[in-house]
Symmetry: C2
Subunit: 890 residues, 2 copies
Amino acid sequence: MNRQKKYVYLFNEGNAEMTGLLGGKGSGLAEMSNIGLNVPPGFTITTEACIDFLNSGDFPEGMWDQTLEKLHEIEKRTGKKYGGENPLLVSVRSGAPISMPGMMDTILNVGLNDSTLVSLIKATGNERFALDSYRRLIQMFGDVVFGIDKSYFEDIIRSVKVERNKKDDVDLDASDLRVIIEKFKELYIKNGKVFPLEPLDQLRISVEAVFRSWNSERAKVYRELNGIQDNLGTAVSIVSMVFGNMGNDSATGVAFTRDPNTGKKGIFAEYLTNAQGEDVVAGIRTPKEIEDLRNEIPSAYDELIRSASTLEKHYKDMQDIEFTVEKGIFYFLQTRTGKRSAKASIKIATDMAIEGLITREEALMRITPRILDTLLHPQIKRNGKEVKLGKGLAASPGAAVGMIVFTSEKAVEFAKEKKKCILVRPETTADDVRGMSVSEGFLTQKGGMTSHAAVVARAMGKPAVVGAETLNVNLKEESLTVGNITLREGDIVTVDGTSGEFYMGSVDLEVSKITEEALTLLEWADKIRKLGVRANANTPEEAIIARENGAEGIGLARTERMFLGGDRITIMRSMIMSNSLPERLKYLDLLLPMQIHDFVEFFRTMEGYPVIIRLLDPPLHEFLPNKEEIMNEMFSLKLKLTKSSDNFEIDSSIARLTDLNRIFQTIKNLEEFNPMLGFRGCRLGLIYPEIYEMQVRAIITAAKRVTEEGKTIYPEIMIPLVGVDNELRIIRERLEKVAKEVSGKEKVPYKFGTMIEIPRACLTADKIAKEADFFSFGTNDLTQMTFGYSRDDAEGKFMAAYIGEGILPYDPFTTVDEEGVGELMKMAVKKGKATKKTLEVGICGEQGGDPQTVEFCNRIGLDYVSASPLRIPIARLSAARSAIKLENDR
Amino acid sequence: MNRQKKYVYLFNEGNAEMTGLLGGKGSGLAEMSNIGLNVPPGFTITTEACIDFLNSGDFPEGMWDQTLEKLHEIEKRTGKKYGGENPLLVSVRSGAPISMPGMMDTILNVGLNDSTLVSLIKATGNERFALDSYRRLIQMFGDVVFGIDKSYFEDIIRSVKVERNKKDDVDLDASDLRVIIEKFKELYIKNGKVFPLEPLDQLRISVEAVFRSWNSERAKVYRELNGIQDNLGTAVSIVSMVFGNMGNDSATGVAFTRDPNTGKKGIFAEYLTNAQGEDVVAGIRTPKEIEDLRNEIPSAYDELIRSASTLEKHYKDMQDIEFTVEKGIFYFLQTRTGKRSAKASIKIATDMAIEGLITREEALMRITPRILDTLLHPQIKRNGKEVKLGKGLAASPGAAVGMIVFTSEKAVEFAKEKKKCILVRPETTADDVRGMSVSEGFLTQKGGMTSHAAVVARAMGKPAVVGAETLNVNLKEESLTVGNITLREGDIVTVDGTSGEFYMGSVDLEVSKITEEALTLLEWADKIRKLGVRANANTPEEAIIARENGAEGIGLARTERMFLGGDRITIMRSMIMSNSLPERLKYLDLLLPMQIHDFVEFFRTMEGYPVIIRLLDPPLHEFLPNKEEIMNEMFSLKLKLTKSSDNFEIDSSIARLTDLNRIFQTIKNLEEFNPMLGFRGCRLGLIYPEIYEMQVRAIITAAKRVTEEGKTIYPEIMIPLVGVDNELRIIRERLEKVAKEVSGKEKVPYKFGTMIEIPRACLTADKIAKEADFFSFGTNDLTQMTFGYSRDDAEGKFMAAYIGEGILPYDPFTTVDEEGVGELMKMAVKKGKATKKTLEVGICGEQGGDPQTVEFCNRIGLDYVSASPLRIPIARLSAARSAIKLENDR
C-alpha cells in the first residue's frame, strides 16, 4: 500500500522538537497543548507541504483531505461546525522554522460569510462582535490574498468614522460596520476581485496565500539579510478562533515572561480589551499594562501568571506570548523565546542560573560576545535631529564628542585647558600618538581597519572613524570639508566608531555601565575557562583599566611610546642621526632614566602579575618627520630666499635649510621600499645592540627597584620579528650579560621570549623554542606575511571587494584566518611545546580580542590571549564559552 | 696486557684509505708502495700521535719506541745506518688528512752532522753533494724548528756568492759550502740557538716541530678560510732520503699526469737536474720540461711515463706527483689528486669517462656547478696595469667594457651608433630596462644583490656591479665621481660583475667558450637527470639563448615588459590615469595588437616547447614616474613662474604644471606603504578584470594564429600572487570565457596555473590545486614573505651582517632556505599532488638556477626548474648530479 505522507498534525500530535516541520508557531502551540496550557484546538500543515506546493503549484496529494479530516476533528472538539449553524471560525497563521517576525501573513476569522455571520450573531447574541469579525476577515483576506493595499481599507474605516462622527474603532456600532463591510466588498470589485463566500474556498485560498507569502519580496530580502535558507518553507497553523473582541471580559495581548529591556523578573505584558489580533501592535489604541488586567479580568491575570511560570520552567528561557481572553477564559495563541536587549540578556541568563533554571554554563552559552560588547562602549543616542556629515570605516567602537583639532600639539593644548577634542588627520603616524592619547576620538580621511589610527584607537579604547573618503582634510588651512560644509578648529563634531558615522555638533551619548549581572557572569566565566586573559597595554593608565576589566597580566607592552613625546622624540631623532656608536650611546644614556621611570610605574601598577615588554619594533624612519612635508618646507624656504632681501631672514632661512637638509638626507638613507619587511624589530636590535641593551638596562634596573620596595613582579622581555633561531640566541646572550651586570648579586627574575609573527618562525619553532621561555603570536604581522597583504594598503585597495565578493569569508585582520595563519600557529604550538614542555604560548595580535579567534586559540592549546584593555571582558567570556563547547563536544 | 697503541706505520702497512690517520702524503706513499711503485723506504707517525702531543706536550707513550723500531727496519731495508758509517738520512714531512699546500713543514737530510757528513762524503765520493745536503738541513731546520727567518740564510748564501764571484747556487763549490755552513751555525748562535749534532735529537726535534706546525698561525688561518676542522692533526712521514742533487744523472721534479690548464692528456712535468726539494718551486733556476728529461735521463723518463699511467688507473684521476731521480733511478716522493683549471676539470672528467677509467656519473660528480659557471662568462684578464676605481656588489657575473651613459635614451642612441656602453645609474627602475637591454653592463651606486639592476642583469646575463657606495652619480651633471676622479658620458669603464670591481678605461677580457667536452658532459647530464630544465625569458631573444643552452621550455615569461617601451608606456600611463572602465578599455584596446604581435613571436620561437606566461604582476604605480622627481620639477616650474614675465613661457609652464599635478595626484592615490605586499598580481587582476582579459585575448589570439601556421605550441597561462583558492577560481572562470570566445570552434589548447609565492598558498595548496593545472614556485616573493624580508631593503641594510655573523648560513635569495621556505615548498608539493596527481610543479624564482636549490627541488619531487637562460647549463648539470646522489644514497 502506498501510504500517504502525513502533511497535517493536530496540536497534540506535535511537540517542541518539530520546529523544522511545524514551524515555530506550530511546534509552540503543540508543545503548549502537551504541557496542559489552554490552547484553542487546531492543527498545523507542514513546511514540507509548503515546499511541495511552491515547487508544483498544487497542494501535495492527500494534504487537503488530511486538512479536512483534522478540521472535522476540531469541529468535534469545539462542538462547532465550520460553515454551519454554530459556526467554527479559524485563523490561518504562518510560522516558519526560524522566526521572521512581521514578514509572513495571518488571516483571522476564516469561515465567516454572509450566512455564517447570521449564525454567529445568533450563537453569540453579539451582533457588533460578529460584524467586527467579518470586516476584519474581509480586510485581512483582501490584503493577504489579493494584495489590496491595507490603506484602502483603513481609508474606508476612516471615512465612515468621519461621516458618522465616531472617534475610535470601538465607537463603531453594528450599523457602521455593515456599511464598512459593504464598502469593503465594493473595494474588492473595484480591484477586480470577489470575496469568496464559500468557507472551504476561504480556507483553501488562505492556506495557499500563506504558502505563497514565503516567496514574497520582503520575506526573501529578510532571509537574505538574516542568512536564512530559502528552502525551509513555512508551516500553516489552522487554529479555532477564540475572540478577544466579545466584550469587556474579552481581550487580546502579548506578554513577556520577564522585562525584555531590563531583564527584570516578572510578567511584562500589554493588552487591549475587546480587541482582536493585531490591534495591540497596530498602535491604534494605547495598550494597557499587566496590572490593569489583574483588576479587569482577574481570572485571566491569574492564569497568565501561573502559565508564564510553567512556560519558563518548561522552555528554560524567557518567553514571548500571544494570548486572547474570551469571556474571561485565557487562551495561548503563541509562545516563543523572547527577543531582548543586551542588558536584559545578561540579567535573564544570570538570574535563571541563580534560580537554578539553567546551569552557569548554559547562562554563559546564551551570552554571545556581541551582546557583551554592546554594553561596553558609549553609544550614540539618536533623536532624528542629528546632522550626519558622512561615513567612514567603523574602526574602533563607541562614540565621542569634541572640538576639532588638526595637530597633536593643539590636542595637548586643548587637553590642558580641559577642552575635549577630536583629532582629525588625513592619516595618523607615530607623531600623533601623543595627541591621540589626550583626544576623545579620531577621525581620518585615509587608512583601513588596521591603519595606524585604527590600531591605536582600539588599543586606547577610543572611538575612531577612519578612511572617511568623502572628507577632505586640509592641514594647511586647518579645515575639514564634506560637500559644501567646512569646519574648522574648535568646531564640535561627534564620531561614532560603532557605525562609522560622524556628525556635526554634539549628539547625545548613552553610556552603558557593565552591570552587576555581567560581572557575576564574568566571574563564572573565569572559573570555567582554561585560557588565561592578558591585556595589551602600553602605559600604566591602560594597565589600570586592564586590571579593572579582569586582565591577569600584560601580554604586550610596546616600548615605542617611550621614545616619543616631549624631549624624547628630539633625543631619539638625534640618536638616529648620529654617525658613531659613542654619539648614539650619549643619546641613549639620556633616554635611560626616563625609561627606568616608565618601567617602575608600570611594574608597580602590575604588582603580582606578569608584564611582557616588547623591545623596540618599528623601523627608525618612523621616528622621523614626513619626507614630503620636509620637501615642501624646503621648497618654501628656497622660494623665500629668492625673494627676500632681509639679511636676518636670509640667514635664518639658510640655517633652517641646512637642518632640514640633514634630516632629509637621514630620511633618504633610512627610507625603505617595504618598511613592514625592512630594517626593524630584532634586525635593528642585532645591528645596533646598544638600543636593546639600553632597554634591558632600564627594565632590569626598574625591576630591581620595585622588587626592593617589597613588591613581587614578573617582567618578561620579548623580542619582536624573530625568524631565525640564531637571532634570538645572539640577542639573548647579549641581554643576559646586561641583565647580570645590572642585577648584581640579587638576581632579578625575568623571562625571555619572542614574538612569533614571521611565517618562518612558525616553521622553525622547534629550534626557536630552545632560546625562548615564551612565545607570543603577533597575528597582525603574521597575517600580513602569510597572505602577503600590507594591511594599510589592503584595507584601502582591495579588502572590501575581497570580502564583498566572497573571496575571503571575513577580514583576517579582525579574526584569525584558521586555514592559513591558523595552520602556522598550530604548527608553532606543536613544535614549540615539543622542544620545551614549559613553553608559555599566547597571542598578542589584535585578533586576541576577537571571540572566534579566542575560541580558536583555546582549541589549539594556547596558554593565554592578550587583548586591548576594553576587550578583556569579551575575551574572558569567549574563553569560557570555548571551554564549554569543547567540553560539550567530548 | 695493556697492548700499546700503534702510532707508527711502515709504508707497506698503510693504504690509500688511511688518509685520516696517515695524512694525504703518508697514505699516498703507502699506496704507491703497495702498487709496486718505487718509493724510498719510510714510515708514517699518525695524526693521533700529533693530537696527543699537542694536547699533552709530550709524545704519547710508545710512539718514540715505535719510531726507533721502524727506523731500524729502514736501516735494514736500505742497508744504511742512521748516524752511522754509511749514513741513512731521512726527510721529515708533514701531511694532513686534507691537503693544505704550502702551509706545513718539511725538513730534508735529517741525520747529517759533522761526523756523518764525513761518512757521507766517503760513501758517495761526492763532497759537494754532501756539503750541499748539510747546508740545506741546517737551513731548513733553523727555519722550521727555531723560526729563524729564511731570508737570513739566503742573505748568507748571497753574500758568499758575491764575495767569491759565483753566479748561481750550482756554481758554489765545496769550499764555498763549507764557509756557508760555518756562517749558518754562527747565525744559530746569534739567535741564541744551537744546531743539534746528535742525529736522534735532530729526528725527535724535527717530528715535534712538524707536529707543532699544525697550530702555526698561517695553518690556523688557512683552515678557517677553507673550513677545515682544527682537530684533525697532521701525520709525519719519515722517508729515507734519495738525492736529486747527486749530479747530472740526478734530478728532482713535479709532474701532472695531464695538463692542469687545458686537461690535455699526457705528462706535464717540470724538473731540475742536480737539485733537491723546493728548488723547482722556489724559482731560483728555470725548471726544464718533460721532453728534456727524455734526453737527459731516459730511464727516469720511461719510468715516469709508465708509472703515471699506473697511478691514473689506480687513482682514477689526474695525479700531481713529486719525484726525485737519484743516479738515474726514479723515486716517487708524493702523489695526490692534482688541482686543475675549470676547463681542464671538464676535459679530464669527460676524457676519463670516454677512456672508460670512470663512469659518466663519476665524471658528472667531479664537475661542480661552480666549475662550469666560470666557463660561462667573460672574465677580466688582469695585467697589473688596470686602474681600479672601486668595488661594489658582484651582482651578475662576467665583465664588460663600454662608454659611460647615464640615461636609457642615451644608451639607445649609442647603441644605434654601434657604440658599446655601460649604463651608470644611482639605481635602476622599470624605465631603464630599454637602456639596459642595449648596454653591455651596468653599474649602480645603490641597491643590493636583488635590486632591480641586479635582477634584470642576471636575467639578461649581463655583468653588473651594484651598490658601489663609494661612487657618486650626479645625474644633473651627467658625471660619476670616485674620490677625486670624475668621469663623464663617453668615458670608458670596465665592470667586473664576477668580482664586483670596476676600472677606468678598457681592461682586456678573456672570453671562454663552452667547450666540446662541456657539451658532451651536459648531454650525459640530460640523459641522467629526472628534473626538467626550463628558462625564465621575457623576450624572444632571451628565449633563443635559452634554447641554445638546452632549455626545454620557458618556465616564466613576464609580461611586464610588454607594457613598457616606446608608445606603450604612454598608453599604459593613460590607462592607469583613466577614471572609468570605458576609458581603460580604450587604452587596453590600443595595447592589444602590440601584445598579440609579441606573443606570436614568442610562440614561433618556442615551437614545440611549453611557454608559461605570467599575467601582469607589479603594482600600477611602478609604471608611473618617480614622485620625488615630479615634485622637484613642479618646484622648478613654480620658481620659474615667480620670475618669468614671458607670457608664452608662463603659459607653457602652467600647462606642464597642470599635467604634472594630475600625474602627482595619481601617484599619491596609488602609492603604497609596502608595495610588495600591496595592490598587485591577481589582486589587480580581480579588481580590474579588463587587464587580464586583454592579456588572455592577446595570448589566445596569438596561439591561434601560430597554430594555424602549422606549428605545435604549448601556452600556459600563469596567475601571480595567489593566496586564496577563490582568487584563482574566479579568474579562471573569467579567463576561460575569454579564451572560449577567442578560440571559437577550434579549441586552442592551453594550461592554466598559478605562481606559488605566498606562504598561504603553500598552506592551502590542496584547495588551490583544484583550480590549477600547474604550480610554479616564485621563491623570490616566497622567501620575502616567509622571512618577512623586503629583499631590496634587506640587502642594503642587514643581510651582509646576518651572513657575516652566521645568523644565516647563506643568502636565502640566492639559495633556497630549506628549513623555512623549503618546508613550505614540500608542503605545497605534497598537498598539491595529493589533490591532483597530474599537477605539474616547477620553480621560477631566481634560486632556480642555483645548484643547491636545483638539488633540493629534485629531492622534493618538482617536475622542473626554470632558470635564467645563461644558468641553464648549470641547472642541467645540477639536476643530473642530484639524480646521481639520490641514486647513490639508496
